[in-house]
C-alpha cells in the first residue's frame, strides 16, 4: 500500500511539473486551457470507476464473495469524488472559456446524471437496514443497472441537445488532432498520474471496507448468537 501511495505522489509531482512548465500555452484560451490536463483525466477516471463498479458487481452476483462487493463499494465512492471534481473543473473551465459556469451540453449533463446515479448507489447502501448480505446484493444489482443505463442516458442527452464541440482528443481518424505533441505528452503523463490516484484511492477504501467487515464479523462470532441477536 505504501509504495503505491509514494508512486502516486511522485507521479503527481511529475504531472504538475509537466502541466505548469512543459505544456505550451494554448493560443486562444491561454492558461485556462491547462485545466484540460486535469479535467479530462478526471473524467476518464470517473468512467473507469463505473467500469470497476460494473465488473465487480457482476462478479459478486455470480460468486457472492464479499471481496467483490467491497471493491464495488470502493469504486462507487471513489467514483463519486472523481465525478464531483469533473463537474467542478468543467465548470471552472467553462467560466474561463465560454463565460458561463454551466451549459446544459451533452457531456457535462451526462456527467451530472452519472453523479446522481453514484450518489443514489451510495445512499442505498448507507440507508439499507436489512441483513448486510441482502444489502450487498441489492446494491450490486443497482450497480449493474446504473452502469448499463449510463450509455443510454448519454445517448438520449446527446439527442436532447448538442452544443459541445466534438471530443477534442479522440476524433475518429486522427487521434490527437488539434493537440501538439507536447500537449499530448502532458496529457498522457497526467492521465497516468490520475489513474494511479484512482487505483490508490480504491485500494485504500477497500482496505477500510475489509476492516469494517471484520469488525462487523466480530459481533457475530458463532456461539455469541444469542448476545448479538
Amino acid at each position: 500500500m505504501i509504495p503505491l501511495v509514494i508512486a502516486t505522489a511522485a507521479a503527481f509531482l511529475v504531472a504538475l511539473g509537466a502541466i505548469a512548465l512543459y505544456a505550451p500555452l494554448e493560443a486562444v484560451q491561454g492558461v485556462a486551457q491547462k485545466i484540460f490536463y486535469i479535467h479530462v483525466p478526471l473524467a476518464w477516471c470517473a468512467f473507469v470507476a463505473v467500469g470497476v463498479l460494473l465488473v465487480s458487481s457482476l462478479r459478486f452476483l455470480r460468486r457472492s464473495e464479499p471481496r467483490h462487493d467491497r471493491l464495488a463499494r470502493a469504486a462507487a465512492e471513489v467514483g463519486i469524488v472523481f465525478a464531483t471534481l469533473v463537474l467542478v473543473t468543467g465548470s471552472l473551465w467553462g467560466k474561463a472559456v465560454w463565460g458561463t459556469w454551466w451549459t446544459w451540453d451533452g457531456r457535462l449533463t451526462s456527467t451530472l446524471v452519472l453523479w446522481f446515479l453514484l450518489a443514489g448507489y451510495v445512499l442505498l447502501r448507507s440507508l439499507s437496514e436489512g441483513p448486510p448480505a441482502r444489502t450487498a446484493r441489492a446494491a450490486a444489482v443497482l450497480g449493474v443497472i446504473a452502469a448499463v443505463d449510463i450509455p443510454i442516458i448519454h445517448l438520449s442527452v446527446q439527442w436532447w441537445r448538442t452544443l459541445h464541440p466534438d471530443p477534442v482528443v479522440l476524433r475518429a481518424g486522427d487521434i490527437g488532432g488539434g493537440l501538439t505533441p507536447r500537449m499530448l505528452t502532458t496529457l498522457s503523463i497526467s492521465l497516468a498520474a490520475f489513474s494511479l490516484l484512482l487505483v490508490t484511492l480504491i485500494a485504500l477504501r477497500r482496505r477500510i471496507a475489509e476492516a469494517e467487515d471484520e469488525v462487523e464479523a466480530l459481533w457475530h462470532l458463532p456461539g455469541r448468537g444469542d448476545l448479538a441477536a
Partner: protein, 260 residues
Amino acid sequence: MAHAPAPVPPLRPAAPAPSPAATAHVALLELERVGKAFGRRVALRDVSLVLRRGCGIALLGPNGAGKTTLLRVAAGLMAPTSGRLVVDGSPRAAAVRLRRKVGYVGHQGLLYDTLTARQNLAFFARLYGAGGAERRSREMLRRFGLERHAERRVASFSRGMRQRLALARALLHAPDILLLDEPYTGLDAEGAQLLNRELAGLLENGAALLLATHRFEVPLALAADVAVLAGGELRHAGPTTGMGAHDLASLYDRVVACSR
C-alpha cells in the same frame, strides 16, 4: 467462546432405524454438509440431515443457533454457501423442484392482512394451480376452525387466529415436506391440538416433517428423531424412542451446555 471443542455426544446418523417398513422411508429431502455464511458470519456449518417419508425430526436449539436459517435453506429460500440439497435423489435444480413440495411456516404469517382469510387461501391455492381453489380453501378454514371468520380481514385477527391461518396456508397444497418454524407460537390448546392432528395425518400419508420448537413434549408425539443445533452446528441427532419430555430436556441441556 467455542474455541475448545468440549466433549460432544457422538453424532449419529439421522435415521438409522432399519424398521420392517424401511422401504417406505424413502428420502424426500437430503441436506448434504450444508453451510451458510454471510460474509465472515457463519450461520450454519456442515449440517447433514435426511428427511424421510412418514418421519418427523424435531429441531431443537437455543436462540440464534441457526434453526431458522436451516429451515429457510431447506425450503429453497436461501441458497447454501456450501454443501447441497438433494430432492428425491437428485441435486439438479433442487430449489425449483422443492417449490411444489414444501409447506413452510415462518415467524411471520406470510399473509395479506387487507384480504379476508378466504381470499388469502384462495389466492395461494390458485398459485399452486390446484383446481377447486375455493373448495380447498373452505376445507382448510374448516379444518383449522376458522370457518366462522372466513370473510374477516386478516388484519382484525388475533395472534392465534393468524397463526392458524398461516398453518392452513402452508398445508393448503398437502405438501410432502413440512418445514415448520415454531408453529405453536400463539396457538391456544385447541389450536395446538388441531395442528397436531393435521401433522399426524400428513405424516401418515407419507409426508416428511422438520419442526423447530422449544417445547420438549411435542417431538415425542410427532417426531421419531431429534436434532440439536447450536452455534450453527448439528450437535446431536438421534431417535427419541423411549424418551420422556424430561429425558429430552436433560439431553438438550447437556448438548447445549457442551457447545458453549
